[in-house]
């Protein structure tokens, strides 16, 4: 294989990657009333009801007002649900309408296909996270304790859940199948993932059980980045996320190469 051929293949795949990302961004911005507006409204309601009304009765948590304490968790919650939701609905939609075949007949590497969808999911997660962060400024002051950790954690979380959405979409055969995991797995794990409380409030047994919840690690790592407090060790959380991202990447690529649910 000569250098010119390799360079032209790389250039072609780079164009293909940009095309997939552009298409993904065009999709979620075209349907912004379904993708960007609802999480903004939901989070404003959380800020008003939990942060303001109930939060005033709760008092401090971890040395911060309740509103300050829940804001990082709520930002993370929107990043998780939106990065997952973007990839699962986009990829399953492509399978359903069969336009996934446009990609499969083209000389696009499976790595590029996956990366394109994941970047799409990450960008939607970040866009919604950014909107929610801006809205939170109407309710509380926000300062960043550790910018590097904050950025790394939000990127890793969005990447992990984008790949989770991808796997869900590969196995899904109907639109019901793409709502089962978000409803019965993601939502309970998010609510039990320390978004609204510190696990130090739980009995020891439930503290230990909570440690098995991956979202707890992500929310706490992000909260550390913003507030500088965390229920768990930050190094462990980031290590766990890196490992999860690597494992999920391997699974996604295997599924793409096998053509499961896409090729006969």
């Amino acid at each position: 294989m000569n250098t010119t051929y390799l360079n032209s293949e790389l250039a072609a795949n780079w164009v293909a990657l940009r095309t997939i990302v552009r298409r993904e961004v065009r999709r979620f911005t075209r349907i912004w009333p379904q993708t960007l507006l609802p999480p903004a409204i939901t989070m404003v309601l959380y800020f008003i009801i939990f942060g303001n009304l109930i939060g005033r009765q709760i008092g401090d948590m971890g040395g911060f007002t309740y509103m300050e304490y829940i804001v990082p968790g709520l930002i993370m919650m929107s990043v998780i649900t939106n990065s997952y939701g973007n990839v699962v609905s986009s990829f399953f939609g492509s399978k359903f309408q069969r336009n996934i075949e446009e990609l499969l007949v083209a000389p696009v590497s499976p790595h590029i296909i996956l990366t394109g969808y994941v970047i799409g999911g990450v960008l939607r997660g970040l866009a919604v996270g950014f909107i929610v962060t801006l809205l939170s400024l109407f309710f509380t002051k926000l300062s960043v304790h550790h910018l590097g950790v904050t950025v790394l954690v939000v990127l890793l979380t969005a990447t992990i859940f984008s790949m989770g959405g991808f796997i869900n979409a590969v196995f899904a055969r109907s639109f019901d199948d793409i709502s089962i995991i978000p409803t019965f797995v993601l939502t309970p794990l998010t609510y039990l993932g320390g978004v609204f409380y510190s696990i130090t409030l739980l009995p020891p047994l439930w503290q230990t059980v909570s440690m098995g919840n991956p979202i707890l690690h992500m929310v706490n790592a992000f909260r550390y980045g913003i507030l500088g407090v965390s229920d768990i060790r930050i190094g462990v959380a980031i290590g766990f996320m890196l490992l999860a991202a690597a494992l999920l990447y391997g699974v996604c690529i295997r599924l793409l190469v096998s053509g499961r649910g896409m090729r006969q």
Binding site: S8, V15, T19, E102, L103, L104, A106, Q264
Partner: protein
């Protein structure tokens, strides 16, 4: 002339155990306009699916312009454009975006992709509809959109799976002249169709596939030579109550004014008209009962069916 497509011992057994292809061999020369015909479920779409990598083969080899499907799938895909039977684009995307996006998947930079999208959408009469979401296009427009999309990376081999299904006759004829023009520019074309008139008009060579086996692979001219008997319909001036007795020409009345006659090629029609004139039967017009290729196709498939039943 080099080979555009070479298939050897291609077989496919689906997960449910159905064997769609039984080791077929097929060659299509560069620059050819080739018809791949066969009844429903014969294996045409499976063959095309394997070429486009949407269906995994169980055995055999596929080679497109010297690129092996197993060893150089990316190079093979660059040479190949496929227009599938079913619509397979995003119903919410605009026609222009669909074509430009497809070009991007082939690594074509955005500026060139936009130029080519304009070129092919214009040639196919869709430029006015470029900003219309594809779901709002008519069936014929959707078919043409799929052709524009398949051409945007300028493939050397274009495969069209029933491209004129459900398209009205006027549009079908304009698509025929567009495809002929493409072929004259040097693009090799493989066409599957149920309209045998279409295959006869457009294609130089033909392969007939049935029950996963190639039962005929020859030139259109040679195939039509095999047609020994043609069936004609004669419109009669006077009403007839019984079919006339015609020596050497099996005939039957379809209705009081229409006579169906089978004519062997060696006999010709002169003797038929002589006998009719003798019986004072005037003929207003004469036409083929079916397309010539259709007659051959049916006899070949029936022969294969009988062989399978034995």
């Amino acid at each position: 002339m080099s080979t555009a497509l070479s298939i050897r011992q291609l077989s496919k057994t689906y997960d449910n155990g159905f064997q769609a292809l039984h080791g077929i061999d097929l060659d299509v020369a560069e620059g050819d306009f080739f018809a791949l015909l066969g009844p429903n479920g014969a294996g045409k779409s499976t063959t095309i699916g394997i070429l486009s990598t949407l269906v995994r083969k169980s055995g055999g080899t596929v080679n497109v312009f010297g690129h092996d499907l197993d060893r150089e799938p990316a190079a093979l895909k660059r040479c190949l454009g496929v227009v599938p039977q079913e619509f397979n684009f995003n119903q919410f995307e605009k026609a222009f975006d669909i074509v430009v996006t497809q070009a991007g998947y082939y690594g074509i930079p955005a500026r060139i992709a936009r130029e080519r999208a304009e070129q092919y959408l214009t040639q196919l009469g869709l430029w006015d509809k470029r900003d219309v979401p594809s779901r709002e296009l008519s069936g014929g427009m959707k078919r043409r959109l799929m052709i524009a999309r398949a051409l945007v990376h300028q493939p050397r081999l274009l495969i069209l799976d029933e491209p004129t299904a459900g398209v009205d006759i006027e549009l079908r004829r304009s698509m025929w002249s567009f495809l002929t023009e493409l072929n004259q520019q040097g693009i090799t074309i493989i066409l599957t169709t149920h309209y045998l008139e279409e295959a006869e008009q457009l294609c130089r060579n033909i392969g007939i596939i049935d029950h996963g086996r190639i039962v005929e692979n020859t030139s259109m001219k040679d195939l039509l030579k095999k047609l020994h008997v043609e069936t004609f319909l004669l419109d009669l001036k006077e009403s007839q109550l019984v079919a006339p007795q015609l020596t050497g020409y099996p005939a039957r009345l379809m209705d009081h004014h229409t006579l169906e006659v089978q004519v062997e090629k060696s006999q010709g029609v002169t003797e038929l008209f002589r006998q009719l004139a003798q019986q004072k039967i005037e003929v207003l017009s004469l036409r083929n009962k079916t397309n010539r290729l259709e007659e051959l196709f049916v006899s070949l498939v029936e022969k294969n069916l009988a062989k399978g039943a034995q």
